[in-house]
Subunit: 330 residues, 2 copies
């Protein structure tokens, strides 16, 4: 029986945001599977790209430093590729409100350009787009499935919603085999910990490793988390499986925790960590969505994906990584 590894051996893969958190973890797996991996990343300092993320696999990947907004460059890069993992994005919700046009350029317009290039020059490519559960907004019911209305609460959510739908549309109209994963909070080694632009957990982990108390804002909100290796599994399954194109899949986890629970779990994982609880800042509260956790039955039933790494283990792996490599991420 063919394995997932077989689907990628010798295949030409391009990853946008390839020096970023999920992109680089995906690259590591694809290198291990024998794929020919091209990483595209803009290395914009506020985003997730970090050359150290490919430490140890530098000689097994090709790196092209460029921006997905570079329409002609992207058009040249996607030709002759078998798979596109389309992960480049502006991810900060706050930045999308202070600079909405940049968010639109990256999350909306660049996506349309990439798809136009695929349609014109590489219609046989397989594409997986990194979308986000953020586009659901404040849930009407929990866990949220893919039939839930989308009601974005920030500019980032609106632009990601558009970017996701360009992918689905180019499948429906032109037969481009694209699908989308609505990621929930993804955590693990190689995430941005310099600040909270990618995930609030980054800054928590940084504080823990630096021996400082971290701040929990609010703390009552309940969330689900995906360990990055599990997210990588989902991307690979979604790219390889013929049942995926045209579909939108939630990731999620049945293990739901409040942020306070998560903080306690992080403290239990580490020696001597501590935290303080702060009131939720007003400017964030306006775009917060309250409790969220996802129903991931569709991807489970369709592609057989489910999370394998439990949260305490995910936290321990993450903290261990940054204890070893902290200086590379500051």
């Amino acid at each position: 029986m063919p394995t997932i590894q077989d689907a990628f051996r010798g295949k030409r893969v391009i990853i946008t945001g390839g020096l970023g958190f999920i992109g680089s973890n995906l690259a590591r797996r694809l290198v291990a599977y024998g794929a020919e991996v091209l990483l595209v990343d803009s290395l914009i300092p506020q985003y997730g790209g970090n050359t150290f993320n490919i430490n140890g696999i530098e000689d097994n990947v090709h790196v092209n430093i460029s921006d997905v907004r570079d329409r002609f460059g992207m058009s040249a890069l996607i030709r002759d590729r078998d798979f596109l993992f389309n992960l480049a994005g502006q991810t900060s919700h706050m930045d999308s409100m202070t600079d909405p046009h940049t968010d639109l350029e990256i999350n909306c317009r660049a996506q349309l350009s990439i798809l136009e290039a695929c349609r014109e020059h590489n219609p046989d490519i397989r594409i997986v787009f990194a979308s986000t559960r953020q586009i659901y907004g404040r849930p009407d019911y929990l866990p949220v499935d893919e039939k839930h209305l989308v009601r974005p609460v920030d500019v980032n959510g609106i632009n990601k919603m558009a970017g996701e739908w360009y992918h689905i549309l180019y499948h429906n109209v032109y037969g481009i085999r694209a699908c989308a994963l609505r990621l929930t909070n993804t955590i693990g080694p190689r995430m941005r910990i310099k600040d909270a632009r990618q995930t609030f957990l980054g800054i928590w982990v940084r504080c823990v490793v630096e021996g400082k108390p971290f701040e929990v804002w609010g703390g009552e909100q309940r969330r689900d988390f995906t360990y990055v290796d599990d997210a990588v599994d989902a991307f690979l399954l979604a790219a390889a499986d013929e049942r995926a194109p045209g579909k939108i899949f939630n990731l999620g986890d049945e293990h739901v925790v409040s942020l306070r629970d998560l903080a306690d779990m992080l403290v239990a994982t580490t020696n001597g960590a501590s935290y303080t609880v702060k009131q939720f800042p007003a400017e964030r509260k306006r775009i917060d969505i309250g409790d969220y956790y996802g129903n991931y039955s569709l991807i489970k039933d369709t592609l057989g994906w489910e999370p394998k790494v439990a949260l305490p283990e995910a936290l321990a792996e993450t903290v261990d990584f940054y204890r070893e490599f902290l200086s590379e991420y500051l």
Copy 2:
């Protein structure tokens, strides 16, 4: 008891797409109500703007020929305005597929710029955005209400969805009093009849007036229609009513007809008109949504809007208009 007229008397109003079909009909009403009306229109030949649309009210409105993509120009124009009717848009579904970036610039990016300008320079403005039922895609159930999932079937639908949500978001986050109307097929005097870019009915009416048979593609699809005067009522109510901001409202009509029924109705309205039935072209079929008609209970219950002009009367008024002014619309 104050009338809707009182809400606009002496008020400073700006209409984007003001020389277009709905914009110019709205302008006429606002002039009659004693508003100070500024019309912004790009007069791009493929779109709906036509200087003849303000025939007879030229001296009672201000016209500023410019493009909503002109960020600084728009920012200057919206200052000190009490109301913005935001109707400028690329409306052709086919054009959005052949030139998706232009559609994005107008329906997506320009909307964000306009809202940013309002936030910065005129946060007290009232805004009504012209959205479209097209964003629902192929309905799961009929009539479609606002709780129906949005699943656009063309680039235009995706960009209009984003444009609509910027308005809702700027209400939710910044308190800008914006709302959106999801228009269904709007018909009436001053619609574009040169081609089918705005509505298929335009080209039907043109043929009828020119004494040629018109073509019905398919003909089984069932639709609802709004006469432009009724659409104008909805815009005015949505702008004036304090319960509207932040909301999305369907327009619609309980009188649902197949396109074949509509063709027969048009023939009955006129002397000697005839039509031929053609197969639905493949490139349009891919983005067609089948039957659609909207549930308009929300706007009825919230704002008291309902359609007043029946379809046969709407068709007769429309044909009469173009019999008189055909040469101005070719």
